[in-house]
């Protein structure tokens, strides 16, 4: 976000809402955020590479091995034959280059804050849920609830994704190179979602804010999701982002459809103080 001013991001429709409740309180300074590291994060060297074969290891052993290698200062770790096991590469809170040579099962790469992860195969349900920062790039397909509740970073699936991708998305970017299923962007709150192929029904249902760009056809829109106007800023952002991951819009970014919130259902934040008074 470093290069964007508030005015530009607002112009791009990133956060046009005027929220006032507790959810909007700042708990640390954004300036400090650039240098913020978790006390238990590992200091690693990108030039140090290690790999291991996970074929005969279970989830716990694989994640433990990744931590051991980070503790030894390895900044580039290659995991071979992950075998679609669940919950791999989760909870990594520092910079790291992590390659999975194969597929992951459910809840892969969840709760991460910082690493750059590449998965050569496919991922199961709920990949990268609650991701805070970093990048996760999947070369193949992704299951449902891809990027549920992510708060930041780039999450990229170069193939097709399942249903409910970006459900409760709170920030960051989700990019799908192929088609996506039903209920994508359900209750989306912030961030951007890019689907270069077609989408299923109820796209953006009950979304509070954020933007969804679609390159193909939309089966139908959900409640309170409405078409928005593509701006030059939108196109620039899409061009830049897609180029980063070697993707392109089939009919060009200018011909993509932009979906935003109609904000007719949007009352949670206004009610919050009243609820608090009642509770107190």
């Amino acid at each position: 976000m470093a290069g964007l001013t508030t005015a530009k991001s607002t112009l791009a429709g990133m956060h046009t809402e005027k929220l006032s409740g507790r959810t909007q309180q700042r708990f640390f300074s954004p300036e400090e955020g650039e240098n913020y590291v978790y006390p238990w994060a590992y200091s690693v060297d990108y030039d140090k590479t290690a790999d291991f074969d996970a074929a005969d290891m279970d989830t716990l052993a694989i994640n433990k091995r990744i931590r051991e290698l980070m503790n030894e200062g390895y900044g580039h770790i290659v995991v071979k034959n992950p075998g679609a096991k669940h919950s791999l590469g989760v909870g990594i809170l520092n910079r790291l280059k992590l390659d999975f040579e194969g597929s992951l099962g459910y809840f892969g790469c969840g709760l991460i804050d910082g690493p750059n992860i590449r998965i050569s195969g496919r991922v199961g349900w709920s990949c990268a849920e609650n991701m805070m920062a970093g990048t996760v790039v999947i070369e193949n397909n992704a299951g449902s609830t891809f990027g549920a509740a992510i708060r930041g970073g780039d999450l990229v699936c170069k193939g097709d994704a399942g249903a409910r991708i970006g459900i409760d998305q709170k920030g960051g970017s989700i990019i799908v190179g192929g088609n996506a299923g039903a209920f994508c962007g359900f209750m989306m709150q912030r961030g951007r979602m890019v689907i270069l192929g077609n989408t299923g029904k109820n796209l953006g249902d009950s979304m509070y804010d954020g933007i969804i760009y679609v390159g193909g056809t939309i089966r139908d829109l959900g409640v309170d999701a409405v078409p928005g106007e593509m701006t030059e800023l939108d196109c620039q952002w899409l061009d830049r982002k897609l180029k980063m991951y070697g993707l392109s819009a089939p009919r060009g970014v200018k011909n993509m459809t932009k979906i935003v919130s109609g904000k007719q259902l949007w009352n949670y934040d206004n009610l919050e103080p009243v609820e608090k008074k009642i509770a107190l």
Partner: protein
């Protein structure tokens, strides 16, 4: 939660017993209560049929000293009724202490035969068909496979289920797969919850169908059987089920020569598919498919309301 799986070889037979056991064992964490298989072996020609039935529940074995005698009596009653109906048993196999596999020839109405045999108290026919053999019992896949000697079972396709009991008992009767009585060779496994179970059951019972359990998954099997009885082909019946069955579900159905899957319109229950020219596999989790494909393969999720059918 439950785990479901299916596989089909196109144009060849394989050791589907071992393959399905590997897939179901990989799904054990989704349901440790019971495991079930519907295996489609060599097709019985002409008037030949293969039947799997049980004369007690596994838990009955602990109910008194005379249970062995009671089970023997029930089995004797089955034999007598088959004889009475002019069904000739050509092969008898005792699969476990309480379940049997029979090969028999019969020229009459199979439904009548089944009804007459099942009329014996505590005897349940698990399946009757030309190719289908339905095996289900308590415990995980390895245990059930060992118990019923499924390793080396050759066939074209199979479906399987690992069950986490939620709305009905932990017993063989409530275990999946369900045979779509009285249709020989139709079986179903399901992951999800049907919210219009009782409405659907009442309607189907009024049409003369019987239910052996209170498990909502049985409704799918009976529903599909009913639709096919009324003229739908398998795919039509499945597409209709998407609209008429209410709730969240993914199910897999098999017939003598086909395998199909359907997902509800909310796409709330998982399914991963692998499809190649000569082999198709599907499961609630990719890890099950990986158990028979250690090398890298392309898999994908079917979408909401999707119905697919493959022929052997």
């Amino acid at each position: 939660m439950c785990g479901i799986a299916g596989l089909i070889h196109r144009g060849k037979k394989s050791d589907i017993g071992t393959e399905m056991t590997a897939m179901l064992q990989a799904l054990k964490h989704r349901g440790p209560d019971s495991t079930g298989y519907a295996l489609y072996g060599p097709e019985q020609k002409g008037n030949k049929y293969v039947m799997r039935f049980k004369v007690a529940e596994q838990e009955d074995l602990g109910k008194g000293f005379d249970i062995t005698d009671i089970m023997a009596e029930r089995k004797k009653a089955v034999d007598a009724r088959l004889k009475e109906m002019d069904a000739k048993v050509t092969e008898r196999e005792k699969a476990t202490e309480y379940s049997y596999r029979y090969l028999f020839t019969y020229d009459g109405d199979v439904k009548k035969l089944i009804d007459y045999v099942e009329d014996i108290d505590d005897v349940e026919i698990l399946s009757v068909g030309k190719a289908l053999e339905l095996i289900k019992d308590l415990g995980d896949a390895t245990r059930v496979s060992d118990q019923y000697n499924l390793k080396g079972f050759k066939g074209t396709h199979a479906i399987g289920h690992t069950r986490m009991a939620t709305e009905s008992d932990v017993d063989i009767r409530s275990a999946h797969p369900y045979w779509a009585y009285p249709f020989s060779d139709v079986s179903v496994v399901h992951n999800g919850q049907l919210t219009n179970y009782w409405i659907g059951r009442r309607e189907l019972e009024r049409r003369g169908h019987r239910f052996m359990s209170n498990c909502d998954s049985e409704l799918i099997a009976v529903y599909l059987a009913d639709r096919m009885d009324r003229g739908d082909d398998l795919e039509e019946a499945m597409r209709r089920s998407i609209d008429e069955l209410d709730g969240v579900f993914t199910y897999v159905v098999a017939t003598a020569d086909a395998l199909g899957m359907a997902k509800d319109t909310m796409a709330a229950k998982p399914m991963v598919l692998y499809e190649s020219k000569d082999f198709i596999a599907m499961a609630s989790e990719e890890v099950a498919i990986r158990s028979i494909f250690p090398h890298e393969i392309d898999t994908f999720d079917p979408y909401d309301g999707e119905v697919r059918v493959w022929r052997a």
